[in-house]
């Protein structure tokens, strides 16, 4: 996990998908090159094929690591919904107190204004 730096698992899988797209593009490019009316250029095809193989290898490596690293799916043992409700109640308390403080301040201002 450390070798991947700060990328998340989601980002790594995103990269795998991008590589697959790139692989498809390379295949299309090779086909286009082969269908060239003046004959295919060897270097171009070589480069494409090399890149293709490299990408396939990268994809395999990444997927293998992700599969190894995926944790078992456990049903939710620790549910934080009750503390979430407690949090919501605290939010409501806060709003209530804020509104009352505002009213108090208004009262004070009126008092000072009257004086």
């Amino acid at each position: 996990m450390d070798s991947q730096g700060q990328t998340t698992s989601m980002q790594r899988l995103q990269n795998v998908e991008k590589r697959i797209i790139r692989v498809l593009e390379l295949a299309g490019g090779v086909m286009d090159e082969l269908s060239n009316s003046t004959g295919p250029r060897k270097e171009l095809i070589n480069n494409h094929c090399l890149e293709f193989m490299q990408l396939i290898k990268d994809i395999q490596v990444a997927l293998r690591e992700e599969i190894k690293g995926a944790c078992d799916y456990r049903p939710y043992e620790k549910c934080d919904y009750s503390s979430r409700i407690a949090n919501e109640i605290c939010c409501k308390k806060l709003e209530c107190v804020l509104s009352q403080l505002d009213e108090m301040r208004q009262t004070v201002n009126e008092y000072h204004g009257a004086v």
């Binding site: 790139r22 498809l24 269908s35 009750s82």
Partner: protein, 663 residues
Amino acid sequence: MDENIEVSLDKLPIKRLEAIEENGAERFPPDVDYNEKRLSLIRKIDFAWAVEKDDEKKKQKKSSKESLTPLKWQTMVENLQLAHQELSVIIDLINTVEANDAVTVAGMTWPKPLPNEVLSDLAVSAATKLQCFRHLGKYFKQSAKALEQQVAREARFYGALIRLQQNWKVKRQRMAAASAPGNEGFTIDLFDNSLHDPAAIVRPSSLSTIRVDHDAAGMLAINLPSNLCHSLQFGFIGSQSGDDSRESSKKFYSSGEHHLRESEKESLSDEECVKKTHSLLREVHQAIFDEQVFDLVNREAFNTSLGFSVTGIRQNYLQLSLGQGTSVFLSLVSSGQDDQTVDGEGAQNVDDAILPLDSLDGVMLPDEKQDTLKKWGFPNHLSCEIYLQQIFHEHVLGRGNEKPISTGGRLSGHPVKDGSGLLEHFCMSLAHRIFSNKVLMVVENVVSKVPYLQLISHPTWHSRRSSWTLVVKVPQSILHARCESHISAIHNEKNSIKSHFRTKVVVNDDCINVEGEGVSNVIGLLKGKSEESHSMHSCNCDLADLSMIILQQVASQVIGWLFEEALMVGIKANRDFLRLSVELEQRETLSLVAHVDPEDSQGCISWWLVMEDSFAEERKLMDVTDAASDYRKFLGTFIFGCVVFNADGLGQLVRWRRPINVV
């Protein structure tokens, strides 16, 4: 065919055909010479002659014919013969075929390909292969583009889903393909399965499982009808409960909705989309909790009947009576509409925001707020609602894995152990609040009338207990500074003159307890003994007697202090409950008498100076109705500015100044 048909007739030729040959040539009789015509005409008369002539003619013609036609006939006959031969061959062949079924082809010779044909075949096959490659290449590129778009769409969806998964439980069901295309079967589960008390929850709400959909752009979306969510609402019946706070909180949600409706959906960034979904899930989660609370309240309301009674019930509405004419209601309000029976007020009502928790040190209330008991009597309905939710959450619904943490002993002292008496506790808390508001009103009334009295509120962190302290601030004694130098530190505590006296008022449920310091109670003083100044005495009283008792305490505290001062300067003084007597020469007694009247609008404690001679000892202490007597002098309500003891004199001279504020 509208035209008229025209028929043209040709005259038939007079000449008649003589013969028609096999090849179709028509032979007309040769033209007769003119001479022969004449001859023939002439000879017509002699028919025999004509007949002979005809025969001769015929013979001549036949001979001429026979000399011309053999050539034409010959070629024709030869052609016919050849054709006949070929036809006979073919007929033989057909007969043979009919006779024998099997006929083998001996061989067929393909026409030999020409060299340009070979090359063109090669070129065509090569071109076809290249075309295939091109198709393939195009197909790959198109697939790559389509995959890119789909990956982008799914990245948005799954990115949002992962962010939601940090806070909510996301579950997946592999649904059959018959469902809506593109639906991967994700649901968000809002049901809390970690509660230890399954009896508390009878019916899991239908809102517990929320389906995750895609919107038009493929982004995560949740479709929920807005009036499915209910929120809890609590209120006092008959009070103008300010709906401003509720409206403001509702405005919070509705303004968010409004904002979203104004902007186009496509321009919503992913962030905003996730936030909107998250707040929607929060609403639903709270709605589920509110429904559970309402359910529990209903169950408890019909099980126990202490401290309250059910007076009304409708769908999603429960009305309780707390006694003494106070009625409250609890209802589930759909978030889309407002189920208020109270007229909403436009301006903010400051009177409703009353909390006896904070310190109100020295704040004098304007007089116009003391007339409406109703406005003062009811605590803030919003805070009651929150309190109800809190106690149910902590004791029943939110127990989960850990015990509720009682911070600051907030929950200590509750009689509730297993959540069965929660509603009862809540109703008793409400009753206490209302009662303590009344107590506070009485106390504040007293405090506002007496200028040297101050009120301090104390938070008790208990919902059924309130406490206040009344402080009498006495000015520092003049002699105190002088005497201080003579008093050592060890005797400081014993001889220290207090600068203020306290009276504590504690309300427990609906029981008032008054505790005063430095004051002897009525019974002790009437016995004639002088008590110590630092003792504390307490008594219970009713609301009606509270102001009287407080005023008496305060007055006696002042008298007590004056007594101490008098003793300090060495004046011979006596002290009764509300009266301080100083002996002058000639056996005269000067008395300072306090008169206590809670309903006095000028001031509750008024002071009188009474001169008595030794002959009038029998006069009653409380006989203050005769204001016109020479022996009495009304000093007003403010005492500390007008009595000053002479520093030198040991009771010889009593000097007083005019009171500053004479009523």
